[in-house]
Symmetry: D2
Subunit: 151 residues, 4 copies
């Protein structure tokens, strides 16, 4: 996923703030989300799939997928807010495109539209298959659009 614009961070220490958001949320810690990349308007994260992420049929629960899409989009939003500000999710929408399974999920989030009171971001969620091979293809399992309120 590419950034949707040439965004300039307002907070020179935005990386520190994003890492705080990614590591200090107890629910996210327990889930096991890891930061992969942080740049202005962009955040990538990953999650090694565990059994306790599953729903009743052995696939990754939609709630886990939604959490990744929401939290990583929030982190992408945090790259663009001023010091002392926070973001709260106002609403999000997620399409679950294919049953998600495999060994790892990768979430790529990008700010679609920055703003002083609202930030719109998108997340694409990919699954990596159990077996790694040279031909391994990522599978797009979900896509989300997230409206963040800057407070």
């Amino acid at each position: 996923m590419q950034p949707f614009g040439n965004f300039q961070p307002k907070n020179p220490d935005y990386v520190v703030e994003v890492q705080r958001v990614l590591t200090s949320a107890p629910f996210i810690q327990q889930l096991g989300l890891k930061a992969q990349q942080i740049s202005p308007g962009l955040c990538y994260s990953s999650l090694d799939i565990r059994e306790d992420h599953q729903q009743q049929d052995g696939f990754v629960h939609a709630g886990v997928q939604a959490t990744l899409c929401d939290h990583t989009a929030g982190a992408a939003g945090v790259t663009l807010i001023a010091e002392g500000k926070r973001v709260l999710t106002a609403e999000f929408k997620i399409n679950l495109l294919r049953p998600a399974s495999g060994r790892r999920l990768i979430c790529q989030s990008a700010v679609l539209k920055p703003g002083n009171t609202l930030i719109i971001a998108e997340s694409m969620l990919f699954a990596l298959p159990q077996e790694e091979s040279p031909e391994t293809e990522w599978s797009l399992v979900a896509k989300a659009t997230v409206t963040l309120a800057v407070v």
Copy 2:
């Protein structure tokens, strides 16, 4: 929340199937969701709020709220499907109306439109405050609309 119609279950053992869905999903077990009520086109669940449900500012994470709204809506959908069928979430949208905190969340889900291939359900999520008193009021913290694919 009231049922949106006088729905007739197709599976006489729908309660057993809903309980399976509510108890056998590892992610839901770990979260701590409990069934409160199951009837045709309706499911209520509850969650005692724990620290590991929180985001970085001490409120219940949007992903936890989304999981409750999605899973309980799915359970409401399961009350109306034939034996041997399953539901998968195709997409959902959630509005986070107020920061969620307190001692317990209650999720009320109702089928808005049943169908052979698609079921639309709604979820209302309420927070109960930390202190219980005769005047205790439930606070509506989120509302979601869920599209379920019957497979």
Copy 3:
């Protein structure tokens, strides 16, 4: 549809402002939307179905349904804003539940959550059948959730 709270209008002339919003929008005039009821946090509208509202299969176009749900929700939001403020739709989601046809559409919109910067409203869209009879039943054809930005 009932109001979701006992809302107090900030603008004593809110009815005048809502009527301005409902009658001065050229696209809405051309469509033929009529106000039915205006009260704090609530707006009902109606539309007599014409051939030029249809999609290619003879049903009311999803865009017409979306317009009614969006605009009537906006009008419900306008009942609760201060004088001199306006609302703009930030985002909405609509579920088309059944093919819409008949002689008239009724849209009922209610504010779910008021706010100084964001207002969340819901719309229920009903179709009235071609033939009127004592047993005539309204059919719920669409439901929408609308996020309004107060500017």
Copy 4:
């Protein structure tokens, strides 16, 4: 917008069918939508902005934007369905990113996930400014995600 995959049309005459969908819907005719490009999994359309497309503040009404995003996404979906099948919008979600005005809207829709019963498509809506100049930039005014039911 690029196609999200190397999609193969099932109907060799898909262009004819898409053109039928784009030209035979009375609401779309009246609005003035024109086809710009049709290929497997993709449809572009345009709309010359008229006064009767406006809301009360002089911007293009959200309902017009939603109609373009929905109908063009539907047309993109039609490129991939078998002969004799039709698509109906099950639900869509749209974010209005900036007030839309200017001389023309361009809608680019692409199928994100094809399927036998559900097709997921995305639409990006751009506005072209009133004055044309070598530096004219398109402005992204809305983005939508559309779930189509194949019937």
